[in-house]
Amino acid sequence: MNTILIIEDDIALREELNTLLTNSGYNVKMITEFIDVTEQMKKISTDLVLLDITLPNENGEAILQQYRKSSDTPVIMLTSRTGDMDEVLSISYGADDYITKPYNPTILLLRISAILKRTAKTVKALSYRDVKVSVAKGSLTREDKEQILTKNEMLIFRHLLDHVGEIVSRDDLMTVLWDNDEFLNDNALSVNISRLRGKLEDLGLTDAIETRKKQGYILR
C-alpha cells in the first residue's frame, strides 16, 4: 500500500482529501502544524506528497525547493491560484505535477496513480488472469491468440484492470477517456464496452466485465 503525505492547511479540505485517498486504498499521513514544514517532511517516509502552495508562515514553492535538496519523492502541488506563473515556478523547483483547485477528484486520483506507477521501483508486466497486456502494442495476448484494442478500449481496459474486483462507475471511465482527449458520449462508451467485451470473449474470457445496474462495471 502506498503512503501519501498531505500538506494542506484548510482543515475541511484536508479531511476530505484524507477520506478520498483512504477510500482509494492509500495510507494517508498529514501535517497539521505548519512550523518547519520541511523538517517535518524529511522525517516522514512517504511515496508521494500533496503540497498546498499557500500555507501559513511559509510558501509551498519555497518548501518544495528546500525539500528537493534532500529528497526526490514525487510532489504534486495543489493550489487555488490560477496563474501559469505559479505552475512554471513549481515545475522548475521540481514538482512532478500541478493541480488547481477545485480539482476533479477522479483526475487527482489518476494523476497520483500515474506518478506512482512511473516511480515504482519494480516494473511488473501488466497482465490479467493469463492474458498478457501490452500497452505499447495495444494488444491482449492469451496463449496463441491476440486481440488488438483501439486506444479507447485500451484506456477502458486499463482503468478496469487497475481497479480489478471493484466497481468502476461510467463517470470515472468518462473522466479517464476525456482526460486522454477522447471526448466520447454515453452511446459511444456503451459501444466501446461491448466491443471490448467481444474481444475478451474471442480470447475465451466470457463475462470478464460484469455490469452493475446504475453503478458501473467490474472486471472479474
Binding site: D10, A12, L13, E16, L17, T19, L20, N23, T54, S80, R81, T82, G83, D84, M85, E87, V88, T100, K101, P102, Y103, N104, P105, T106, I107, D171, M174, T175, W178, D179, N180, D181, F183, N185, D186, N187
Partner: protein
C-alpha cells in the same frame, strides 16, 4: 486668434482712444494750436496705439494659437499644460499656471484611483483563492459521499464558473502583465476546458469532434483554458434543442500562423448582432431570449485575446452554426 476678433474684443479701448483724441484735438484747437501741430499729435497718438496693440496682439496670438491647435491635435488632451510655451503677458501666465495646477490635481486624483483599483483587484484575486477552498472541499464531499445528489455537482460547477468570470474580468482589465506566454499544447488546454464541462455535455449527449489539436501555440495556458471554457459555455447555453449538439474543434495553418477553429451547431447569431457580440454588456436577441446572458463572457474573451496578442473572430448563420476562429501569432513573433 484672428485680427478681426482682437479688434472686436478691444472695441471699448478703441472707442476711448478715439474719444480722447477728439477731446485733445478740441483742446488744442481752443488754445489756438496750428493745424500741422494738431496733425502731428494725432499721428503720434494713432501710431503709438497701433504699435502697442500690434505687439500685444502678436504675443497673445503666439500663445493662444499653440493652445488652440494643441487642444485640437492632442489625443490625450490632459497633456496640454506640458506642451504650452511660456506666456509673456499677465492673463496668459495666470491661465497656464491654473492649467498646471489643474493638471497636477487631476494626476493626483487619477493616481489615487488607480491605487484604489489596484488594491481592489488584489483583493479580488485573494478572495477568489479563498473561496476556491470551500468550493474544493464541497467538491470532494460530493465525491466522497455517494448519497449526495449528483445535481449538486452541476451547481458547484456553476459557482466555480462564476468565480472564474470575476477573476478573469479583473485580470483582463488590468494593465499589468500577469500572464506567461509559453509553448502550450492546444489539446491540453482544450481537454482541460472540456473536462470541466463534461457532466453537462454528457447530459446533453453532445458529440465532440476534435482534430489536429496536436499542435503547440504561444499563449498562456490558463487564459486559453478560460477562453475555450467560455466558448463551450456559450455552446451549452445557446444550443438548438431540436438538434443533437455537435462541437467541432480543429486547427489550421494560415500564413504561418496557427488558427483554432471552434464550431457548434447551436442557434447561431443574428447577422445584425454579429458585429457587436464582443462588446461589453451586449446581449443581443439570443441573450434576451434565454435571459441567462450578462454580455460579459465574450467581452472578457476578446479582452484576453487582445492582451495575449491573439485575434478572435466570429462567423454565424442563424439556426445553423456559430464558428469562432482564434489566430495565434507565430512563434517567431515572440522569439525575436
Amino acid at each position: 486668434m484672428r485680427f478681426r476678433d482682437y479688434i472686436k474684443d478691444h472695441a471699448l479701448i478703441i472707442t476711448v482712444y478715439a474719444a480722447s483724441l477728439i477731446v485733445i484735438e478740441i483742446f488744442l484747437k481752443a488754445f489756438g494750436t496750428n493745424v500741422q501741430a494738431m496733425g502731428v499729435v494725432a499721428a503720434v497718438f494713432i501710431l503709438m496705439a497701433f504699435v502697442v496693440h500690434i505687439y500685444d496682439l502678436r504675443r497673445r496670438k503666439r500663445f493662444y494659437d499653440v493652445l488652440e491647435t494643441s487642444v485640437k491635435e492632442l489625443d490625450k488632451k490632459y497633456l496640454l499644460p506640458e506642451v504650452l510655451d511660456e506666456a509673456h503677458f499677465l492673463d496668459g501666465k495666470i491661465l497656464s499656471d491654473t492649467l498646471q495646477d489643474c493638471g497636477k490635481s487631476m494626476t493626483e486624483n487619477v493616481t489615487s484611483e488607480k491605487r484604489k483599483m489596484q488594491s481592489f483587484r488584489e483583493y479580488i484575486e485573494l478572495w477568489v483563492h479563498e473561496i476556491k477552498l470551500p468550493v474544493s472541499a464541497l467538491n470532494l464531499m460530493c465525491h466522497n459521499n455517494k448519497e449526495i445528489d449528483p445535481k449538486m455537482k452541476v451547481q458547484l460547477k456553476r459557482i466555480d464558473d462564476y468565480i472564474d468570470n470575476v477573476l478573469y474580468y479583473a485580470r483582463s482589465e488590468n494593465a499589468e502583465k500577469d500572464y506567461i506566454i509559453k509553448e502550450t499544447p492546444l489539446n491540453r488546454a482544450f481537454s482541460a476546458a472540456a473536462g470541466k464541462n463534461r457532466e453537462e455535455l454528457q447530459l446533453l449527449n453532445a458529440t465532440i469532434k476534435a482534430s489536429n489539436l496536436d499542435v503547440s501555440v504561444m499563449t498562456d495556458g490558463k487564459w486559453l483554458e478560460f477562453i475555450i471554457g467560455q466558448l463551450l459555455d456559450n455552446t451549452i447555453k445557446y444550443r438548438d434543442e431540436e438538434k443533437a449538439l455537435e462541437i467541432r474543434v480543429s486547427t489550421k495553418k494560415e500564413n504561418g500562423k496557427t488558427e483554432l477553429i471552434y464550431e457548434d451547431n447551436g442557434t447561431g447569431i443574428l447577422k445584425e448582432d454579429l458585429p457587436r457580440i464582443f462588446e461589453k454588456s451586449f446581449t443581443g436577441s439570443n441573450g434576451r431570449e434565454t435571459q441567462k446572458s450578462t454580455g460579459m463572457g465574450l467581452y472578457i474573451v476578446k479582452n484576453l485575446c487582445d492582451r495575449l496578442g491573439h485575434t478572435i473572430r466570429a462567423e454565424s448563420e442563424k439556426g445553423k452554426y456559430t464558428r469562432f476562429t482564434i489566430t495565434f501569432a507565430d512563434n517567431d513573433y515572440y522569439c525575436r
